[in-house]
Symmetry: C2
Subunit: 225 residues, 2 copies
DNA sequence: ATCCCTTTGTGAACCGGTGCACAAAGTCAC
DNA sequence: GTGACTTTGTGCACCGGTTCACAAAGGGAT
């Protein structure tokens, strides 16, 4: 009914999108080790998922496997990269160059796959003008100008919580629609803007919850009433 | 049929657990601003969720609201904290004190709610012995001893990817069952061990995917075949 | 060319989670 | 105490995602 190897249905489930980078990483590792072909079973193990799920995920991109054989590693790397938009490079700006912003700026794995730190911006006059990871830190007053000048399309927010919403609004005002937020606040943004948040404190609290369950066992401490 | 204000059913949905920290943060903000009572609607807005979902989430902990009035802020803070296990304090070790490990060690918000950085461990002799955020960096050879001595129950992995699996196994061997992993690898762990991962690169790739969709619009580039 | 073996791609059942919508429960004013 | 009003707690329908299990497809040996 449908010709093989089609780009397919433009509706990839969100859960699938979130796993594609995992497959890509596993595939890169395999390519480095000279593996040419991989079965869904092996790739699934490497990525830490169920093989049926992996096959269904890949089937959303097209029919890129060969029955009885598996998937061609190089080809699949290319297809997933293209689907994720990693064949182009993305200019990223980091706003807030403190502890965290610095770590991110110095992080090499950042650049590795299509992402390029194109600007660092901070409000502190002590920090503005410094060179970090070969990049000049620019003043927050220049925020909009810098974003436009450098063609930034993804902004990483590493400012204190209080500043995050304002910075967020300002970058949106110059057309940014993709934000990665490290500040512990709920950002309010218009439709069409994607915000992903990374929240260390929440992760720890989730771990603590399970840890408590394991430790406390079936019956908890005496304060249960 | 059931008495009011019971600790309830010991099976809280994972999705609910993941949101409790969000509610807690919003509630802390309200408590600071002197708000004594809050409706599910207001709290839901502050936490960025739907109010029905919030009420259902809270109902898993017990019947802590008052119909016609709302929830008592202080009381709810206490109940959620207790449920998450934040009434005790948790000793956290950070293994790998590079760019990221340092940023985490220096991060204040870490300590704020029940979490205490109790140990820093690294393999690099240049780093071992340094004092960071008032803590001495210890040698990786001492890993197991340090974890036992300090009563560490949560380990944060900020080593290079290559070292992560090994460190992981070692901390598990001395009883750690909660790990927060920043290294871009799939850790393989026995049942009963919780691993949560924070993966910046995946977050960026997900943003890039959506950014590409927005930019490319309905019909994509010419290479679509 | 045929048969056997492997592995994909997917139909269908299942499962956890979401959100609507409303009855039950409680407050407050009088 | 009564009635009007507010807000909770939840039954229920729905939805996206997961997993099982298998027919269809392809490769390779003979
Ligand atoms: N460091 C961590 O490990 C960590 C972990 C989780 C979350 N966070 C969050 O990440 C954010 C940054 O953390 P950090 O430890 O780097 O803090 P930090 O205080 O070290 O750095 C914040 C930086 O933002 C700059 N800044 C302040 N206001 C600004 C503005 N309006 N515009 C631009 N820059 C501004 C400051 O000058 C400073 O350099 C915080 O919201 C924090 O809660 C940090
Ligand atoms: N820096 C970031 O922004 C960032 C972002 C995302 C992910 N990561 C990941 O986090 C991890 C740490 O990143 P980083 O930038 O801090 O790297 P880094 O190289 O600055 O730090 C790694 C540290 O781990 C130590 N180490 C190496 N082997 C070790 C071992 N066996 N036991 C204990 N310590 C050991 C090193 O001595 C070094 O101090 C990496 O896996 C990286 O991919 C970092």
């Amino acid at each position: 009914m449908k010709s093989p190897s089609q780009p397919r249905d433009r509706g990839i489930p969100e859960a699938t999108v979130a796993r594609l980078p995992l497959y890509l990483r596993a595939l890169h590792g395999m390519a480095e080790r000279g593996i040419a072909t991989v079965s869904s079973e092996d790739l699934a193990v490497a990525a830490g998922v169920n093989s049926a799920k992996l096959r269904k995920d890949l089937s959303h991109l097209g029919s890129y496997g060969t029955r009885g054989v598996g998937y061609d590693v190089e080809y699949l790397v290319y297809q997933i990269s293209r689907e994720l938009g990693l064949t182009q490079d993305w200019a990223v700006a980091i706003v807030g160059v403190g502890n965290l912003g610095r770590a991110l700026a110095n992080y090499g794995g950042f650049v590795s796959r299509g992402f390029r730190v194109a600007a660092l911006v901070d409000a502190d006059p002590e920090v503005v003008g410094d060179t970090i990871a070969g990049l000049n830190v620019e003043h927050i007053d220049e925020l909009e100008a810098v974003i436009k000048r450098r063609g930034v399309s993804i902004v990483v927010l590493a400012t204190p919580a209080e500043a995050a919403q304002e910075v967020c609004e300002r970058v949106i005002s110059v057309g940014v629609t993709s934000i990665l937020n490290f500040a512990p606040v709920v950002l309010s943004v218009p439709d069409g803007v994607d915000v992903r948040k990374v929240d260390l404190s929440i992760e720890l609290q989730i771990l603590a919850f399970h840890e408590q369950r394991k430790a406390g066992g079936p019956l908890m401490a005496v304060d249960s009433q």
